[in-house]
Symmetry: D3
Subunit: 217 residues, 6 copies
Amino acid sequence: MAKTARKNHQQPEHQFAQGPAPAPSSAAARDDTEITALDLPTASLTPAMEAYFAKCEEKLGFVPNVLKAYGFDMAKLEAFVAMYNDLMLAPSGLSKLEREMIAVAVSSHNRCYYCLVAHGAAVRQLSGDPVLGELMVMNYRAAPLSPRQRAMLDFVVKLTAEPWRVEDQDRARLRTAGFTDRDIWDISAVAAFFNMTNRVASATDMRPNSVYHAQAR
Amino acid sequence: MAKTARKNHQQPEHQFAQGPAPAPSSAAARDDTEITALDLPTASLTPAMEAYFAKCEEKLGFVPNVLKAYGFDMAKLEAFVAMYNDLMLAPSGLSKLEREMIAVAVSSHNRCYYCLVAHGAAVRQLSGDPVLGELMVMNYRAAPLSPRQRAMLDFVVKLTAEPWRVEDQDRARLRTAGFTDRDIWDISAVAAFFNMTNRVASATDMRPNSVYHAQAR
Amino acid sequence: MAKTARKNHQQPEHQFAQGPAPAPSSAAARDDTEITALDLPTASLTPAMEAYFAKCEEKLGFVPNVLKAYGFDMAKLEAFVAMYNDLMLAPSGLSKLEREMIAVAVSSHNRCYYCLVAHGAAVRQLSGDPVLGELMVMNYRAAPLSPRQRAMLDFVVKLTAEPWRVEDQDRARLRTAGFTDRDIWDISAVAAFFNMTNRVASATDMRPNSVYHAQAR
Amino acid sequence: MAKTARKNHQQPEHQFAQGPAPAPSSAAARDDTEITALDLPTASLTPAMEAYFAKCEEKLGFVPNVLKAYGFDMAKLEAFVAMYNDLMLAPSGLSKLEREMIAVAVSSHNRCYYCLVAHGAAVRQLSGDPVLGELMVMNYRAAPLSPRQRAMLDFVVKLTAEPWRVEDQDRARLRTAGFTDRDIWDISAVAAFFNMTNRVASATDMRPNSVYHAQAR
Amino acid sequence: MAKTARKNHQQPEHQFAQGPAPAPSSAAARDDTEITALDLPTASLTPAMEAYFAKCEEKLGFVPNVLKAYGFDMAKLEAFVAMYNDLMLAPSGLSKLEREMIAVAVSSHNRCYYCLVAHGAAVRQLSGDPVLGELMVMNYRAAPLSPRQRAMLDFVVKLTAEPWRVEDQDRARLRTAGFTDRDIWDISAVAAFFNMTNRVASATDMRPNSVYHAQAR
Amino acid sequence: MAKTARKNHQQPEHQFAQGPAPAPSSAAARDDTEITALDLPTASLTPAMEAYFAKCEEKLGFVPNVLKAYGFDMAKLEAFVAMYNDLMLAPSGLSKLEREMIAVAVSSHNRCYYCLVAHGAAVRQLSGDPVLGELMVMNYRAAPLSPRQRAMLDFVVKLTAEPWRVEDQDRARLRTAGFTDRDIWDISAVAAFFNMTNRVASATDMRPNSVYHAQAR
């Protein structure tokens, strides 16, 4: 499958030259250019996906690694892209920034490295506020948010941590904060989606494109 | 949106005639025929979805409520159906029963009423073993499973509960149990998908078709 | 000790014929007709217990496995039966159904296979509502309950999960919901009892009579 | 019901004379001589229980408050006494000290004030080692224990905290440590019993006899 | 380094003479007079520390083991002593007893044997109330406290268990209970300090002077 | 007390112009230039601290906000500075980078905004590896570490999350990874120190200097 460089994950040799020379850990032993820890078959992109990857290259300058990771099976890739684009880009009572804030707050609870890197960059870019991105990654409770956005993030983090405890009163708090029932669906669906992708990324040790790290700092 | 009866959720009046007469709870106040707690717009089915619903009626005798719940927006419904059908029905190294066992073990951790009812029935049907369905709902650790299936379910429950702790050694255990890297993707993707649907169902208080309860007992 | 069949715990052979043939797991290796995982001595029933077992056969059609499990020692069996019958059957401000609902909500938190099977059936039978039994097993928060019963179950699940946090305000909520101080004792004692039996069952891998599964569906 | 003094729970007035004068808390408002927070009916002791209370007075110098708390209903008191005496005093492969160590380790996990005070004193008395009692109350992992006793306490604390995770390998560890299957029953039954009494005590805010505090220090 | 006797940690031989003779556990194998499980270098006391140790001997009759544990490095010992004395003894809106109550409530959450023994004794001594010391060790929620002290302990236990959830409303509750902003700093700093020392003690298996056990009972 | 600008915490107005206009949240209402949420007295710097602040300005270009936060009381500030400098800068078997990695891994578990920002920057600077800083903030388990450093971070995160479970075998793992007993003290002391500072920062809502965010990206 497609490879991307992860060179800068390497620490300078001299920092670690203390104590007995360690055997390489299994993580270090993995080829640093692989996107996931799984050895998956390759597949040819369908014309629709070829066009989509080209559009990514044009707009972003790169193809996000998650797409390459799904690229071993076109049915899976197309289903993922369709759901992602509907949730994050289609018209909604939630701004695109708010959807990205949900993505990062959920991924922070789940401590998902891939999603925190990729969507933390999105929050920085969409908000023009590098600190807001850090706050979402580290602890959304420390961010100076409007009551609307605080209610939204409290809901998604509860839904992430203890879905079995979400009840009418939780939905009522969202309505009080100004959200419509359709907004509640969108909040829930975005939060639920990142609970899915966080787990695909963690289960496969998916690695983000390194270009995200320096974006919009 | 389409309504389905939930009459048998009603407890006999006399059971509750103890102590002072209670005010109706907010859950009880909700119209018992609504599929979710959200008041969402209605949408016309696309021809593809109309055909799909007809196929459900023909094969199952009913349209699963989750499809009706997504029915307010065709883009969301079609993306959901595409992803669901690929994950649960497409060729895979996992049997359909195994994929349903993952669905129920994940939903049990998340205590998702909708998914436990619907997919518990699927485990009973596909296995021809009503007790296996109950074991998946109640505590998969109590089930007499093959090492392969036990390793599979241990992985998905860890991925559900603590995705940040899944590492190379967890994938190694799956390989030792006989799974290929492609199987590991499928195990992960199914588990991740139900972590999504559990949260959509809990966030919206989605209710399963009552027909599931008596199936394959 | 007495044996009961657990034949239907067996999954059809063909479902598992994927991947390399697994060695039998330790659970599978255990004789499928044993009630617990422990090899305990046998004892003669006292006349009182002989009469009690006969009454079970007459009324239920079988002797519950938990009684057989305690049957290796008459002092233990008689103490268990005395406490069980007082708590679950003696006059109380709680209906028998309510006591069974407590049993199942507690056992659901503790994911106790034996107690969920046996007392889930009791809820279905006493309520005449198969769905209510499932709701108690899966997530009592999803059930449309009266405020009285919801307060009762919230109390017992908190007492199960975090007994160190139960305080005056928790008892006050029960009083507000219409319970007397004597009712609060009974609620507490039933919840506490199932916290005991759940642990005896889990510690010994106790298996329920298979007849429960199809009852009152 | 019978009253016992709790005078020494009072802190010296002057220690609290800082900041604005507080309103009495609800706990402080409760009559300090009541054994529980519940107002329960009184009952006459049966002859058997009268004899038992007299024996407590003679042997211990007092009637443990838990017995007085159950004293509102003779059926409940007698069932409790029968089960307690069988578990803690009948012949067993576990010494009486070991059974008390289980009681305290379980009660420490559950942070049960009544049981830690009463059974902490029992460990100090039976062992002649006041430090061992403190170790059981505070953190049994810090105690210098034999492998046998460490295995026993690891088992009961796991059974207390996560009963759903107890499996064959946990029982195997006890067998390796030298316990018979009958011992495993006794370990489990004692641990399960204190998971019951901890919850009765916490649910009712039961208060121990103050005499325990200074015993065997 | 300096040694202190831990003889009374030994259980009487006969109590453990059941089952097969156990190999000594690793904890038992450690020399019973060592203060920590680490083999650290020795250092000469600076004049300031020599004077401080002498003052401890004079006032307490012994040098607390924690000071001996830090005694391998004078810079570390002096920094620890300076911070400890400022927090626990300098003028503050909190009484010395209140600061010790915080120490024990935090140490109880963290189940730190060293700090519970040493500071439990301090609560008993400063309050003249042996029961209050036990309540702080076992479960501060069971203690009959003024609203001021209850608010203080609720704050420090939340700060200990879930620091990421402490927010404006938590500080507001302290202000409502009569604390100034400077008091809130002191409450926080004492709680934070014991979250440090609990972890140094647990990480090194630090053992308290045995003299604490019988003090002020 | 000294003020520092937090202007860039402000999100662009237009991002939030959705739904009904929210009342300002309590966090937003706080003056954006305050370092903590507490209104504390001011104090004159001692000559030693004046020199230290000047050295910070000279070397870093700014005085870290944590020092200003402690600046209301010279005894507290000096004790903090002495302990901090000894732990993080004095000779040790741990490199300065390793001590900062511990700081960030602990702060990540505790989700401490202040410490993640300040010490995340330190990891980026000392390692010359911006990605390593992000990995420590997000999930150290995803970082390709040497076995030595992985063992070190596993130890400190266990010590942070469950100090009561740290035992001989945990120390043994550090020794196997090449650490001396003195190194184990240093690992423990640094981890314990950040468990303190994380809680001071969270309890007071301490805000980092905004200059950290863009450093060494």
